[in-house]
Amino acid sequence: MTINTKYVGKAPNRVEGPAKVTGTAKYSAEFEVPNLAYGVVVSSTIAKGRIKSIGADKVLALPGVLQVFSHENVPRQAWFDRAWKDDIAPGGSPFRPLHDDEVKFSQQPVALVVAETFELARYAAGILEVEYKEEKHETDIEQKRDEGHAPGKGKSGYKPPKSRGNANKALDEAEHRIREEYIHGTQHHNPMELYASTVHYHPDGKLTIYDKTQGVYNCQQYVAKVFGLSKDDARVINLYNGGAFGSGLRPQYELFLSVMAALELKRSVRVTLTRQQMFSIGHRPHTLQTLEMGTNPDGTLAALKHYCLHETSRFEEYTENVVNWSGMLYQCDNVHLSNQVAALDVYTPQDMRAPGAATGSFALEVAMDEMAYAAGLDPLDFRIRNYAETDQSENLPFSSKRLRDCYHLGAEKFCWSKRPMAPRSMREGNRLIGWGVAGGVWDAQMNKASAKATITADGYLTVESAAGENGTGTYTIMTQIAAETLGLPLEAVTFRLGDTNMPEAPVQGGSWTAATVGTAVQKACQALGEKLLKLAQKMDDSPLKGASLDDVEFVNGQLRLRTAPEQSVVLRDVLQTSGEREIAADSTAIPNLINMAKYSMHSHNVVFAEVMVDEDLGTVHVSRVLNVCAAGRILNQKTARSQVLGSVVWGISMALMEETVPDHRFGRYMNHNYAEYHIPVNADIHNIEVLFVEEEDPYVNPLGVKGIGELGLLGVAAAITNAVYHATGKRVRRLPIYLDKLL
């Protein structure tokens, strides 16, 4: 009999698709709760200084305005910083909304106006007069070039690996050398869904909080610690995210404000940020990088130095892992990496899709292209010559690495061999054509998570874990894993997530959810399977008597012997015979620390891009992108491909148009809306192809998956930049490549 309950690796549709397209999927600002009041945030107009006065009286006089919260009347909360630290907080003192009269960054929330209707709250917020005493601010990293410092040890403070060899000496002796600076400005996550929190205040004073977040447990512990609540008093729910890209890893200020207002007013409250305010909640930092490289006469890398300086806030020391990848992607014996941050009067930057690696791979991979040209080598050939067989930074073998196969497959599909080396050698009329290549490396991470699996007498399985779903496909792949583990049809399985009443899962980030929650789901289902086997063995004439879990398989709604598949029982019969209404099992999965100590676990990719550049007008059109990824096992071809497609679009955006532009005189971002913060529209996107080179990896985690949410972004901006060079002969080292850079 063929097995038709095998789903892993296939391409089933998103299980939550119908709910999304029919609008029954509810987002945080959409939950209806009784007697709801509305809060609107007033944002600071200065970047640094003191609040002199808040003209609350005039606003409170409006009938229907319930309260104006500001530092003048905010109730006392937790005193110590540690209470304000969420799971993802970097070192330093987390921002406390409405804490005192100090303004630390432009658009800082300075008041919350709560009213009976949203319209009234918005009007009242619009006329609230706030007076400031301005102080001199600094928001420009360019002015801080000499004031960077190595970040302290706080959480997520990455340290570059120790230097190896002698990079300076090797550079001096190198046959060819390059040294260049690469820059990109600030970028904001800007998910479509606005940050919002709907807090349901129950008559007994308990709260149900619907918050836009990538981690419900993270929010729950934050709320509990800050407001001195017991965890039972604050249930946090997030069923869907309209995108987040890392902006929801940390609790945002709408959560604090809505909970504070609900507790004070003893009433349900909703706070929704505006699009403009979405530019006040963390960002990919403005980053300056310098790469130095040298080659030996045989085209191998003699030396590599990578230095990075990026911004952080004055109150927290956010640190990105920008440079470490450079010690790992290529074989090189003389490497020096260093990383510095400089504090500015901005909000703390925040992880944004492939944090650090998107930035670092841009600089590294453009530098590799420059180095290849300096050495007179084909850029792909140059990479293959310097292929890293082991992780030299950690001095460990890779748990699996098929990047070489990605190079070869990509080159063949893209017809790379037809590429003339010289820039400006391909054209069509006014259009110069160029091909570029680049790639990247990303961590294959796993964390601790728990899950619970429950099967009811009618044979329906529900699996729960408080994971997040950013639209990545979590619902779908977890359903696949559960259904396959217990041999059930997909339709008989429901996966639930995003609720602190469920078993704990970490924030959804780092591309670790597939491995982390997937393993927990698999383990819970296996534990449930063990219980089912025991019950099956109790049945009269059970053919499974004496069999161990390893001897049986769950397939097509049956439990059967592996060696003698005709010896089987129907699961539903087992359940019915048992007389139980439901059977449940839970389990916690943790990463394998021994394997982690023995192997370097990473995913890799390579991106080929074709651009057409109008010779006179400088417009760039990305006509073709091929992204080949090696990320272990692919659980769902469709959702994985979608992740990479989205990454490519993101990379095109990063390369050509995306940037939050500050006016340093005001210390303020000026293009803080969707009309002027440009991301691609359909007309900017053309042929994108995604290929996976699957890896068998017995060490990385029981599922053999490495995660695909971030990898696809790596190298895209660099491949486009390199293609632009190939087309035009112009090397752009400051993103985005606006048309005027090519005039």
Partner: protein, 339 residues
């Protein structure tokens, strides 16, 4: 956003009267611009007079052989109207280069003329802006001014008019028909929008309470040789950095008549008749076009972030004239958008 009342005018006279008799009134048509400005507290009307019930949404031939575009006809209906596509393909192309299909379905012809600048500082009440708050200063001067003017700016304001449609209307020399408390009048398109000077708060020469009822296109539509070239930071749904509307009348390869209007470079659609005159009687060649491009931009001044527009403007003029010479097909509306 302020609380406001809304009435929907049924007649032109009723709309004009309602405006005259109200405190802080504003007309609203498609609402795609004024609502945003109200949400940002840039516009704070307390009474809105809806225009969409007015009988002004028709597009009809005029006795003089031209075409009359109703003020409340949508940008989409106008761009796709067979008469516009056939006889004034430049206009169709310009409208379709603007905004997005959703916006064009709502936006009206009158509203398009009246839309306000997209200057970042104008939109952000935390920063100074002479247009929004006369006397407060100009945030864009010395600041981030990528989308700002290089021609005809003043020390008070360097904003641009953001419309695409208006660039084509300027090239086609349309007329603006208005009705106000003092009766009706006709404004030549070149006199409709103004330069900022010392009163940047005034975008145009319409008097308060005057209502645009129609735009009239003259007979001549330059349907054979036209081009609307729009350069921007993404391929659609972005305002022009520089745009050029070019139309030609050719006798063989000799230019008999020509018009050139630039968008994204000034407080109004930019015409330079002296420069255009350099085209007349000349061969339609790149060297002719380059001369004209030089002439149009000879007095251009960059503001820092937008310095590139001077060179981009020159190149865009040459390309638009080349494309116009080659001729455009009315249906080929994306011919001149980015590659």
């Amino acid at each position: 956003m302020n609380p406001f009342t809304l009435t929907r005018a049924e007649t032109v006279e009723g709309a004009v009267r309602d405006f005259r008799d109200s405190d802080s009134p504003a007309f609203i048509a498609g609402g795609t611009n004024i609502i945003d400005l109200m949400k940002e507290n840039v516009a704070r009307p307390t009474h809105l007079i809806g225009l969409n019930k007015l009988p002004l949404n028709t597009i009809e031939p005029t006795a003089e052989g031209g075409l009359r575009l109703g003020a409340t006809a949508t940008n989409a209906d106008t761009a796709w109207h067979p008469e516009v596509q056939c006889r004034y393909p430049l206009l169709s192309q310009a409208i379709l280069a603007g905004a997005s299909p959703q916006l064009r379905n709502m936006a009206t012809n009158g509203g398009n003329l009246m839309q306000r600048t997209r200057c970042y500082y104008f939109y952000d009440t935390a920063t100074p802006c002479n247009k929004r708050e006369p006397g407060s200063g100009c945030g864009a001067i010395g600041g981030y001014n990528r989308i700002h003017a290089i021609l005809g700016a003043s020390e008070q304001c360097i904003a641009t008019h953001p419309s695409d449609m208006c660039i084509a209307l300027a090239a086609l020399e349309a007329e603006v028909h208005v009705v106000g408390p003092g009766g009706s009048r006709v404004i030549k398109f070149e006199d409709f929008h103004r330069l900022p000077g010392n009163t940047p708060e005034r975008d145009n020469t319409l008097e308060p309470g005057e209502l645009i009822v129609a735009l009239e296109l003259p007979k001549k539509g330059f349907e054979k040789h036209f081009s609307y070239l729009k350069l921007r930071d993404r391929t659609s749904y972005a305002f022009a950095l520089v745009s050029v509307a070019a139309v030609l009348e050719l006798d063989g390869s000799t230019i008999e008549d020509a018009r050139l209007a630039l968008g994204g470079v000034a407080h109004k659609p930019w015409r330079d008749k002296a420069a255009e005159a350099l085209l007349i009687g000349q061969p339609a060649t790149t060297s002719t076009f380059k001369k004209v491009a030089e002439a149009v931009l000879k007095d251009a001044v960059g503001q820092g972030t937008n310095d590139f527009k001077i060179e981009l403007g020159r190149r865009a003029i040459v390309r638009a004239l080349q494309q116009a010479t080659a001729g455009g097909k009315a249906s080929d509306v994306f011919l001149n958008s980015n590659p």
